[in-house]
Symmetry: C2
Subunit: 514 residues, 2 copies
């Protein structure tokens, strides 16, 4: 533990830093952060000058309690079953990568990367997503074909809004197909997978928007956006799901210096939504057709929809020219799945920043992805490309919805799978209880015993009611003499004597029924 | 991506740093580290001056490929089943904690903690184990009773020896029981769990050593070790599994300044091994009995062994006075499970430091734990204690052993669970294949299709052989006309026509048999 003197020294330096920043008129954000650190240090000294812990998890992170874990396990099982049904293998990569592995992959979002402190040795950063580590893995192992999923936590120094499932440490569930294949078949399977998962999780209505980076770029070109402004205009278009067109246009014109005329032309296109028909119409569009890129993208969207029909998922897929996704590495089709049905409203005490009251956890993006044919080549010494397409399921919002559902429902979430508690009503039977529970464990039965020499029967039964344990095996002097165990069904309170020799079979029979 | 100029700038500053350290005669270790960083920077520029990536994972970490993941899943399933059989819930905590949460918990090992860079906001470190985050979780949520497991990665800036399963990022599988209970019952259950897991994993012979922190401290006291030297002498005793008694004694006397007489007395005790009988004998030992602490520890060891007899695990448990475990937070019983049967020898190319050729991956510590009654109180503002005992399974060595076993065995490890591939021998049947695979997916069957318009039948069959897919559903013009599918068993090459309506039931029947 740091001692008092050390902390006071820290407080002094930190106080000076804050004063200097204020004098220099540093950004409010920066000053706020340093003030927060100062307060944290002061809290350590506490009122009475005693060292006190700040008992919390770091900003934007949380613990999962057993109930939340039970829900998380259920969601993961649904998702993993789907990935396995589609023949995916799985891999894992370290939580941190060499810093330079992540450099230059995320455009404007790079500032959100967590770096590790330089403690000697290599410079490292926490992974920001699972896609860049995947590309690094493929290049490093010279893999040109794989269908894999990867479920793991990623890290972003973003503004958290935790009741809506936005964290700084959060899970991603990624499914990607790498390899040189015929156009749009793997891309369509990714959308099929999103459709299956969101349907099975029963999260309410959803819609999957698709677009293509080449259509966006072509559109920018024919609308007169200068080449060097494609990326920044693209990231403004990306805000259309949260901002009105008027505000987006203002940002384009006033902040990014686009001509009003160009902005208006973009405005016309990005209001378009449809299916295969829209792709066909735009292929006839005089202006759009000036861009070869856009045409290639539109033809692929057509082909994609033909496969989606065979996969029976066109009911939820919309071709939407306003979909732009920020990440630098996409090269072809892009997509995003959005929940559209307002569910349970968020709790009133969303104390984190920026929680607008109208935004329900049941509405918003829950999956996204696209094609990134150039990313692996960025890691290969000879620049060899491995075409990839993939999807990432944003699990945290799904957890939040499931948690709210579980809380609203009357059904109790069990956090253990215990089938039977070994109990006794009389004193001095600890040894007998331990002997019996050992028999059960050795037979593969999930069993518990209270860690007391002489627990009360009532407290043993109460524990079963609370934890949802269905059976109690009760031992007493008489039962021991008779070579039986009293088996009690917790829900009905029915009790029956079972001979010791039959007990295991009887428990297995009763718990397999349930 | 950092540009050339920026990297050259870094190289310059780094070069200056190295020169300065050499001039200042800094430690070889520090100089080596900074030189490594310099070389890393230079490698980025490459021979031809082009920016080149260092294609690797950070030192001491690794990726898991699909085969390793299949093995990992199997090991986790065994361990999790055992934890669940014993009625445990599970929780999860963030990968990083506030820095001060970890401060002062690990004694001399604190230097191995990874810190995050100060990017504004709180100061944070990567978790070093799962025990301290567990204690923080209990204190923060005022939980006084829980039996939980937690499987997650932890981080230590240690010297890696990867072929023997020693990494800087590695999994721990922790099981802990928190709560005020009657003595030694939960402690005995932890040992029962280690016994069950190591037996089920079939890792060869093992032995579980137990000792008690109070016996160690009492022993040091009666042997004349000054109070302030307990911890440091304890960490020297801890090295007895890797060093001879002579070397341990030398370290005590020469480096830690213990009297030769005290060291010799310690030497006598730490050579003792036994069971309940040894505890009984030491309770009669005139010198040992001078320490109340030691007596309390010895009585508890006796009680522990009586419960271990009921749990039927005394065959593998040894009371060993040389067991000392380094961590600061243990207060009572401590234990460690050790594999004793040399298995497959390690690969010759253990290029990481310190791999002595005699040390096989099949030998060494695979689990450890103990009682830590004071740790939660360190987090509680009022210092309220929650007694805890737990065990941590060191999974990486187990993975290594299982991997070597799998490689030595003829049996192929499957990395997907695909039951059937939808194939065709003729051209222009992509749409029909997609239609059929959709039917199978929608019926919950694990199915695959090649992402080619016109794949060769041979390459489709070859894929099945390689990936272990048991069935192929073959479509052709004739089959479509007849309303059937040709179902081929990959292993026997037997083929049979199944009507389209019966296909799903037939696949389910055949794959549930297997």
């Amino acid at each position: 533990m740091e001692d008092r003197a050390q902390i006071q020294e820290h407080i002094k330096t930190q106080g000076e830093l804050v004063r200097r920043l204020k004098a220099e008129k540093a950004s409010k954000e920066q000053i706020d952060e340093e003030v927060a650190k100062l307060l944290q240090l002061k809290a350590q000294l506490g009122e009475d000058g005693k060292h006190q812990f700040v008992l919390k998890t770091p900003k934007g992170t949380r613990d999962y309690n057993p109930k939340q874990m039970a829900i998380r396990e259920k969601v993961f099982n649904t998702i993993i079953s789907c990935f396995k049904r589609h023949g995916a293998e799985t891999i894992d990569t370290p939580v941190f990568e060499l810093k330079e592995t992540l450099t230059g992959k995320y455009g404007e979002d790079s500032k959100l990367i967590y770096d590790l402190k330089d403690q000697g040795g290599e410079l490292m950063s926490l992974r920001y997503d699972l896609t860049v580590p995947f590309a690094r893995y493929l290049a490093m192992n010279k893999i040109t074909n794989i269908k894999r999923y990867h479920i793991a936590k990623v890290y972003r120094r973003d503004n958290p809004a935790m009741t809506r499932g936005r964290y700084r440490e959060f899970y991603q569930c990624d499914f990607d197909i790498a390899g040189q294949y015929d156009a749009m078949i793997p891309d369509a399977e990714c959308l099929k997978i999103v459709h299956e998962i969101l349907s099975e999780l029963q999260l309410g209505e959803f819609c999957i928007k698709v677009n293509d980076r080449r259509i966006l770029d072509g559109m920018f070109a024919v609308c007169g956006v200068p080449d060097e402004k494609f990326r920044t205009i693209c990231s403004t278009v990306d805000k259309l799901d949260k901002m009105s067109w008027e505000d987006v246009k203002k940002e384009m014109v006033n902040e990014k210096g686009l001509s009003e005329e160009a902005a208006d032309q973009i405005g016309e296109y990005v209001s378009m939504q449809g299916g295969m028909d829209l792709a066909e119409r735009l292929l006839q569009d005089q202006k759009m057709c000036q861009s070869k890129q856009a045409c290639a993208g539109l033809s692929d969207i057509k082909l994609l929809f033909s496969y989606l029909q065979l996969f029976q998922v066109t009911d939820k897929v919309v071709f939407d020219l306003s979909l732009a996704r920020g990440l630098d590495y996409y090269t072809g089709i892009i997509y995003e799945a959005v929940l559209t049905q307002a569910g349970v409203p968020p709790p009133a005490n969303d104390s984190q920043n920026g929680a607008s009251s109208e935004e329900s956890v049941g509405v918003g993006s829950v999956a996204g992805g696209g094609r990134y044919d150039g990313l692996v080549g960025m890691f290969d010494p000879k620049g060899r490309k491995v075409p990839c397409v993939g999807v990432s399921i944003g699990i945290e919002r799904i957890f939040s919805i499931m948690e709210q559902k579980a809380e609203a429902s009357a059904e109790k979430v069990r956090t253990t799978e215990v089938q039977v508690m070994v109990a006794s009503a009389q004193k001095n039977l600890l040894e007998e209880r331990l002997r019996l529970v050992t028999e059960l464990w050795n037979a593969g039965i999930k069993a518990e015993v209270m860690y007391k020499k002489n627990p009360k029967l009532l407290s043993q039964l109460q524990h079963c009611e609370e934890a949802g344990v269905p059976l109690v095996a009760i031992l007493g002097e008489q039962e021991l003499k008779d070579g039986v165990v009293k088996l009690r069904v917790v829900s009905t309170r029915e009790e029956v004597d079972i001979s010791r020799a039959d007990l295991i079979a009887e428990i297995k029979r009763r718990t397999s029924e349930a």
